[in-house]
């Protein structure tokens, strides 16, 4: 089986700061992969390189067997890479319906049918439980619902790879439960790459975890392996479990 996504020697330096410093990363189709690491480990920079928001200093990115290193971001989205923003980035003055209609109308192949557009948009809203708020301006939604809308926009692109950058930040426990169900459902049709700080959530959801530290991969493995990994405990988990206990 060919990997869905592969990076080789991927680097991004900001002046003297090596945000991403030679990452070799392989992602198989159907996985839920979590990327964790301390603040400043380069997680967001890494996924931004994958989705094309920033260009790498060195290295290659291969998606579905095709080199996409030099492909502009909007073309990568069309290849099936969807990115949901860490800082909620919806269209606040447009209705919730318009927010999802935008990704849906771009993916429609027939291009004309009003019915298909409406159905696609309503489906994405129903999956995220936002259908009854379709007419509300997105900026008037509660924060948790804006996070869900952000995910709905990603889903509406019908991606092969869905990148979620700290999706549960600021959500209540109840909202997180809904979110877990949603990600598990999405994983049946798309590969999920998840950046997340909530450790119990990562341990429950991820098939495999990649730990980044100072721009490099520190460890990679199943949740159990990562939990037992001494290097990871020292670099990262120790402080987090300490925080969780406090």
């Amino acid at each position: 089986m060919t990997p869905l996504l592969e990076t080789r020697g991927l680097k991004r330096h900001f002046g003297g700061l090596k945000a991403v410093d030679g990452v070799d990363f392989t992602l198989m189709p159907g996985e839920i992969r979590a990327v964790i690491g301390p603040n400043g480990a380069g997680k967001t920079t890494f996924v931004s390189l994958v989705c094309g928001r920033i260009t790498p200093s060195a290295g290659t990115i291969v998606f579905q067997g095709r080199d996409i290193t030099n492909l502009p971001a909007h073309r990568r989205v069309r290849q099936g890479i969807a990115y949901t923003f860490q800082i909620t980035s919806v269209f606040p003055n447009l209705s919730v319906y318009d927010n999802v209609a935008l990704p849906v109308q771009r993916t429609l192949t027939d291009g004309r049918s009003q019915k298909a557009l409406r159905e696609g948009a309503i489906e994405a809203l129903q999956r995220t439980g936002l259908a009854d708020r379709a007419g509300v301006p997105a900026g008037q939604l509660a924060y948790g619902h804006q996070r869900l809308l952000e995910v709905a926009m990603g889903l509406a692109l019908r991606p092969r790879l869905l990148i979620l950058d700290e999706p549960t930040q600021g959500l209540s426990d109840g909202e997180i439960e809904d979110f877990v169900r949603l990600v598990q459902e999405v994983a049946s049709e798309a590969t999920v790459l998840l950046i997340e700080h909530n450790m119990p959530l990562v341990m429950r959801l991820a098939h495999c975890i990649t730990v980044l530290d100072a721009g490099r991969i520190l460890a990679e493995g199943t949740p159990d392996e990562i939990r037992e990994n001494v290097a990871v405990q020292q670099a990262y988990l120790g402080t987090i479990t300490g925080e969780a206990a406090a």
């Binding site: 502009p72 971001a73 969807a82 919806v90 447009l94 319906y97 318009d98 935008l102 109308q105 692109l157």
Partner: protein
């Protein structure tokens, strides 16, 4: 913009506006009849500006060059090549479209304040070029289009554009086409993409849209509509002048659109009418009419920051496109 509002009411309103303007042809006294024809042509210019500024959120300070490109494309074709009205009109539109494409390619590499400065700079270059090539353009004297050159013949149809009724009807026809073209565009899926670019360009890009190509397309559309207005102005009023390429004609459409309501289909008309009549009334009382215009504008910005129709839509009529 939700695509959910019943379109019937919207289309009826726009058709009623066109009918009302048609009826005014028979009701207005001669002075206002002539003024209204002028206002309709300039409202088309404002509608072109509104496509770019109101919907796509790109603030150009150089739209005088597109208006003037249409005007001079038409004027030069008639003066130097003796073309008929339809061919001259086509020359004006093509000149505006080509110029908008070239300027868009360069200016859209910038955004925000830099975009304003770059468009203004290109527009000044265009203005100075008109003055420099005076042998062709007539320099600051401009060109007068003779009455005989302004009679349009399309098969059996003869339309004298220098006659008040012919002029009014031609202006109304252009206005109606531009209005419905705007209405259809902004209610379309592409209109939704333009608004998305205005609201959050980075997010739009990350939904898979080539934002540069979309911005270039709307720049060309906007420049072409402005050029159509400029060309019509030359044909209807018989004068092609460099002052229409000067910086004030880049500022005026911005004021008209802000006054009427940016990103509303009828705002450009309302803004142009109000501004024209305020100017006209003020200048009949005092030579300090610019002061009165200024005070009115400041009051509007303070109390109606979204313009007349923008405020109306926000408070009472959310269905207005």
């Amino acid at each position: 913009m939700t695509g959910e509002v019943s379109p019937l009411r919207v289309y009826l309103l726009h058709a009623a506006i066109i009918l009302a303007l048609f009826a005014l042809n028979f009701m207005l006294p001669p002075y206002h009849h002539g003024l209204m024809a002028r206002i309709m042509v300039l409202a088309v210019f404002a509608m072109g500006y509104n496509m770019l500024f109101g919907y796509a959120g790109l603030l150009s300070l150089g739209h005088a060059m597109f208006f003037a490109a249409g005007m001079y494309g038409t004027g030069l074709a008639i003066t130097h090549f003796g073309t008929g009205v339809p061919a001259a009109f086509a020359c004006g539109i093509v000149a505006g479209a080509v110029l908008a494409f070239a300027i868009g390619l360069l200016a859209l590499r910038t955004s925000g304040v830099a975009f304003m400065i770059v468009t203004m700079m290109f527009s000044q270059v265009f203005y100075l070029a008109i003055l420099y090539f005076a042998a062709w353009t007539g320099g600051d004297q401009g060109m007068v289009l003779q009455q005989a050159a302004r009679v349009a013949t399309l098969g059996p149809l003869v339309l004298d554009l220098s006659h008040p009724v012919g002029r009014y009807m031609a202006a109304l026809a252009l206005f109606a086409i531009a209005l419905f073209a705007t209405l259809i565009t902004v209610r379309s899926r592409w209109g939704r993409v333009l608004v998305a670019i205005r609201e959050n360009e980075e997010r739009t890009r990350m939904l898979g849209y080539d934002t540069f190509a979309n911005k270039l397309a709307v720049t060309v559309l906007s420049g072409t509509i402005a050029a159509a207005a400029g060309s019509a102005f030359a044909l209807l009023f018989g004068y092609v002048g460099a002052n229409f390429a000067a910086v004030q004609y880049s500022i005026l459409p911005l004021l008209w659109v802000l006054l009427g309501g940016a990103a509303t289909t009828l705002g450009p008309l309302v803004g142009t009418v109000v501004m024209y009549y305020v100017t006209d009334t003020a200048s009949s009382y005092t030579s300090a009419w610019l002061l009165i215009v200024g005070v009115v504008l400041i009051a509007l910005v303070l109390f109606f920051p979204k313009g007349i129709l923008g405020t109306l839509r926000e408070r009472w009529a959310g269905w207005l496109p």
